[in-house]
């Protein structure tokens, strides 16, 4: 547990083994992790290190086979029933038969909010992700970056206090990615949500996070947890400061250690 904030996610000795045709595959082993309220935690590691699986276990999309995990003091399933999660996938996963505003309204409809309440929240979240004016467009009429922003708006539209993002900007180009990273930090500062963010990119992880969880594969496990010493206010050019580079170097070392295990 970090500081005095209550734990949003608490995992201990967490393990998950998939039964495949080639025998059991240990996707997660012995993961101990506590995430406090309002933290921005990045999970970084090579493919197959279990970072997406860990996110899916937190969201109750996979069941762990050993160890315990709690979310807001409940099981992940109870937290899911209480709609604690906003999940942003690798692709935008917008429904093509719905306009952008109806896509953002999707969770609100399912949760049974009134029409007026829906309209109010749609307006607020569309402003938040800078998509005002595109409400009546269909997803396939927007660029990839705009689609991903719409999917973030959809995750923010309801009061999920835990935002789970699985490489949301992985398919976008560098410039768009920088821009969205900046916006995401502003969003995080404004909404005070807890964010779990899976990424491949060291600069992205260091730029965004208050804490970076370095993971390594076979079996998927946590190899290092790095506290960021960067201030909460982060302009894009903070990435050239020695402090930033020092943290990035530590993350890189952690990743290398994980890889050498493999060789």
């Amino acid at each position: 547990m970090t500081g005095t904030s209550p734990a949003v996610v608490a995992a201990s000795k967490l393990g998950l083994t998939f039964q495949t045709n080639d025998g059991p595959v240990q996707a997660l082993s012995n993961v101990d992790l506590t995430i406090g309220k309002g933290e921005f935690v990045s999970f970084i590691g090579p493919s197959g290190c279990g970072k997406t699986t860990l996110l899916r276990v937190i969201a109750d999309l996979e069941k762990p086979t050993s160890g315990t995990i709690s979310v807001n003091g409940m099981t992940p399933e109870q937290a899911r029933e209480k709609r604690a999660y906003g999940y942003v996938f690798q692709a935008a996963a917008l429904f093509p038969w719905r306009t952008i505003e109806r896509n953002v309204a999707l969770p609100l409809e399912i949760m049974g909010l009134s029409r007026a309440e829906q309209a109010e929240r749609i307006k607020r979240t569309m402003d938040l992700v800078n998509l005002s004016g595109f409400e009546k467009k269909y997803p396939w009429q927007l660029s990839g970056g705009m689609q991903q922003r719409a999917s973030i708006a959809r995750a923010l539209a309801f009061d999920a206090d835990l935002l789970l993002m699985d490489e949301p900007f992985g398919a976008l180009d560098e410039i768009v990615r920088d821009h969205l990273n900046e916006q995401l930090l502003q969003l995080w500062a404004r909404t005070n949500r807890t964010i779990c963010f899976v990424t491949h990119s060291i600069p992205e992880a260091v730029y965004l996070s208050t804490r970076i969880v370095v993971m390594s594969p076979r079996p998927g496990r946590v190899s290092d947890i790095i506290e960021s010493t960067l201030p909460k206010e982060r302009p894009l050019d903070i990435r050239e400061t020695p402090e930033f580079l020092a943290i990035a170097a530590r993350v890189r070392d952690g990743l290398r250690a994980g890889h050498s295990y493999d060789d």
């Binding site: 209480k82 996938f89 996963a93």
Partner: protein, 384 residues
């Protein structure tokens, strides 16, 4: 030679005219008249033979000059269709006497029609209305030529009426039997086909949802559904007539059996068509079975469901008509076809076939239009 742009259709049409001139007589009476100049026998194309050939040659030549495509198409259209009309109207009274030049002229006119469609197909009008008009005109000319060649060949060669009546005779029969055809359409399409289609497709859809919801149905029902689809309709129809009587209800039952399975299979496939990511998304919202079905899985299944509706629109018509062969009151399209064949009224059979084709096309077209409106988002519809 900038002003000239030869087309092989035009050159070939002129060549065919030359061959026709060399061969001489267009019909047997004309050949007889040429052989025996003393006798003043009447023969076809006495006055129009040169006119027709002139039309073809002039139209072909004009079309090969570099002029605006629309004018070129217009010249070709007039030349081809005026020649065809003269050819067909001229043979009246002399059916079955046509000789080779008759067919050569027909082929030459057809080549001009072909060139006309080819020119029209290359036009890319900027205006939306004219694009739509062009989209209708091109297949219309195409279809008209099928009828023209059918008419000219059946009459020129004197094909027996029983084997293949000319379209003009079918058209006349059609126009004279509108009340009978109307009654048949009411009986077969408005009662048996529509009722069976709606109930059969609806039942297939509901069964698919039940099979999706209840696992034991999925395991037990789908294999049996497979068997039902393999039932030969010829075998089932008489049994349905015994069960549900001679009137339209038994035909509707056959249609229900025929349309049930395509809908079942397509809906089951469609319900599995939504992506993993989308389903995981609904799961993170703690969305229940029915909200997920209505908001995600059914919209994603819509292209599959419409596919089944389109398949069923033609199956239903076939099923109802064939079922009427096995006992029916004295009205209905299948009844009419089977009895008129027996009475050698082949033109009436063709008139019923034309009605069935027309009704089937309209039915299919309506379903396809609704599909475009509902699945506007699908890449196959929005074109991207």
């Amino acid at each position: 030679m900038n002003w000239l742009k030869p087309s092989w259709q035009g050159v070939l049409a002129i060549a065919l005219c030359v061959v026709a001139v060399v061969l001489g007589a267009m019909s047997k009476p004309e050949a007889a008249a040429l052989a025996d100049t003393a006798a003043s026998a009447a023969y076809p194309y006495h006055a129009t033979k040169l006119l027709m050939m002139g039309l073809v040659v002039v139209a072909a030549l004009v079309s090969m000059i570099r002029i605006a495509p629309l004018i070129e198409a217009g010249v070709l259209f007039v030349g081809a269709h005026l020649t065809a009309w003269l050819l067909i109207s001229g043979i009246g009274g002399f059916e079955g006497t046509a000789l080779a030049p008759y067919y050569l002229l027909l082929a030459a006119a057809w080549l001009l029609g072909w060139r006309c469609v080819a020119v029209l197909s290359d036009i890319r009008p900027a205006h939306k209305g004219s694009r739509t008009a062009l989209r209708l005109v091109i297949p219309a000319i195409f279809g008209a030529w099928i009828l023209i060649i059918w008419e000219a060949v059946t009459r020129g060669a004197g094909i027996p009426f029983i084997l293949l009546p000319p379209p003009s005779a079918i058209g006349a029969r059609f126009a004279n039997s509108l009340p009978i055809l109307g009654a048949d359409v009411r009986q077969t399409i408005l009662k048996a086909v529509l009722f069976g289609y709606i109930v059969g497709s609806g039942a297939g859809f509901i069964t698919a949802i039940l099979a999706d919801r209840v696992p034991f149905l999925r395991r037990g029902l789908l294999p049996i559904g497979n068997m039902v689809s393999a039932l030969p309709i010829i075998g089932v129809a008489p049994i349905m007539v015994m069960w549900f009587g001679f009137d339209w209800q038994s035909k509707a039952a056959v249609v229900i059996i025929m349309t049930f399975f395509p809908m079942l299979v397509n809906t089951v496939a469609g319900l599995a068509a939504s992506g993993h990511m989308e389903r995981d998304l609904m799961r993170t919202y703690a969305s229940g079975y029915w909200p997920t079905l209505v908001k995600l899985r059914l919209p994603a299944a819509a292209p599959f469901i419409f596919n089944a509706l389109k398949i069923n629109s033609t199956l239903a018509l076939i099923g109802a008509i064939v079922a009427e062969f096995f006992g029916t009151p004295v009205v209905g399209m299948g009844f009419r076809i089977s009895t008129e064949v027996g009475r050698m009224n082949i033109d009436m059979v063709w008139a019923e076939i034309a009605v069935a084709a027309l009704a089937g096309s309209v039915f299919y077209g309506v379903v396809a239009l609704v599909e475009r409106a509902v699945t506007f988002w699908h890449p196959s519809v929005r074109g991207g």
